[in-house]
């Protein structure tokens, strides 16, 4: 007795198997990612992500903006994505430049106000990373899909 005694289940698993085959496009993208290798760069780590909480996985309920937080060396970056716009804040507040990078280059860039607030258009899918350029150094976040 196996899950494949049922014709429809077998067809469904076969469908999954056909889509799970490695494609050339996926291979090219995976190889190309290596060009983004940086040496000894201290990354801002993901501190929290509203997409990866128990509530979302279990309930999948009410509509709310995606909220993501990153931890820098001496500040945090809080980001909220809603309706094609990224609104965020650098905490503690300071004037600096926040940019959104995609694998093809810089997508957008904005200066924060004195409280650290900024607003940028969000790319339509694909992986992104944020960079925060202060007086001394530039810090980047990990890549993630927005």
């Amino acid at each position: 007795m196996t899950r494949w005694d049922d014709d429809d289940q077998l067809m469904q698993d076969l469908d999954e198997a056909l889509h799970g085959a490695v494609s050339d496009g996926a291979r090219q993208a995976a190889r190309a990612a290596f060009a983004w290798r940086t040496i000894d760069e201290e990354l801002m780590r993901l501190a929290h992500d509203s997409s990866l909480t128990e509530e979302v996985m279990v309930r999948g309920a009410a509509i709310a903006p995606r909220v993501v937080g990153f931890l820098g060396s001496d500040f945090t970056l809080e980001v909220e994505v809603d309706a094609g716009t990224v609104m965020g804040q650098v905490v503690p507040g300071k004037v600096c430049r926040v940019s959104i990078l995609t694998p093809t280059g810089t997508f957008g860039s904005a200066e924060t106000d004195e409280s650290g607030f900024f607003s940028l258009p969000a790319p339509d899918g694909g992986p992104v990373r944020f960079t925060v350029a202060g007086e001394s150094a530039v810090q980047s976040t990990e890549w993630l899909t927005l």
Binding site: M1, T2, R3, W4, D7, L10, M11, D13, L14, E16, A17, L18, H19, G20, A21, V22, S23, A26, R27, A29, A30, R31, A33, F34, W36, R37, T38, I39, D40, R45, L46, A47, H48, D49, S50, S51, L52, T53, E54, E55, V56, M57, G60, A61, A62, I63, A64, R66, G69, D82, P103, G125, G126, P127, R129, E142, W143, L144, T145, L146
Partner: protein, 196 residues
């Protein structure tokens, strides 16, 4: 050379900027990433986004990867998380619990990885089984899984068989699939309970 030592050597070389070593890591683990994306039923741009993000994350992660044995688990966890992010993209949801970057250190992660590796094996066995079928039967099953679905009339025209014989032929093809060396080998590999 054993697998773990092999991966450790590739990681060490990739850290030094060796693209060839990176490409070999891609060959080693891309089947797992692709299998998990398919398991989450992601297609097209969604699938591409997850794949690209996983590899970009691994590039970043190379420097602080201390235990190459943990690499498959890290890749599986990262892929799963990115799949959930993309799924969530289409249905934003309110939530408050913080959750940190994937760490492969909880006991249930091992269970999840075992399931992921089993899904990969299952998909590989199914593809191998399909390859064992005679051409017409393989084509029939492939056409019946077309996305968007093809009407039986169209399948009938493409294969030159009557509409009325599609159902019975599908049943025979699936029976042949069950009896293929690939699927029998897969099912014989472990107790049935674990093959579910």
């Amino acid at each position: 050379m054993d697998q773990t030592a092999d991966v450790a050597a590739l990681v060490a070389r990739a850290r030094q900027g060796d693209q060839q070593a990176w490409d070999e890591l891609v060959e080693r683990f891309l089947p797992l990433v692709s299998a998990l994306i398919a398991r989450h039923r992601l297609r097209g741009h969604d699938a591409d986004d997850v794949n690209q993000t996983v590899w970009l994350r691994l590039v970043e992660h190379l420097a602080d990867l201390r235990e190459p044995r943990a690499l498959p688990g890290w890749i599986a966890t990262t892929t799963r998380h990115e799949c959930l992010r993309v799924i969530d993209r289409s249905r934003r949801t309110l939530a408050v619990d913080p959750q940190t970057s994937p760490q492969f250190d909880r006991p249930d992660d091992q269970v999840a990885l075992d399931e992921d590796l089993l899904a990969l094996e299952r998909q590989q066995a199914l593809r191998a089984a399909l390859a064992e079928l005679p051409d017409e039967r393989r084509e029939l099953l492939t056409l019946l899984l077309a996305d968007p679905p093809l009407p039986y009339r169209e399948v009938s025209r493409l294969l030159g068989i009557p509409v009325g014989s599609i159902g019975p032929t599908r049943a025979r093809a699936l029976e042949q699939l069950r009896n293929s060396n690939a699927l029998r080998g897969f099912l014989a590999g472990a107790p049935t309970e674990q093959r579910r």
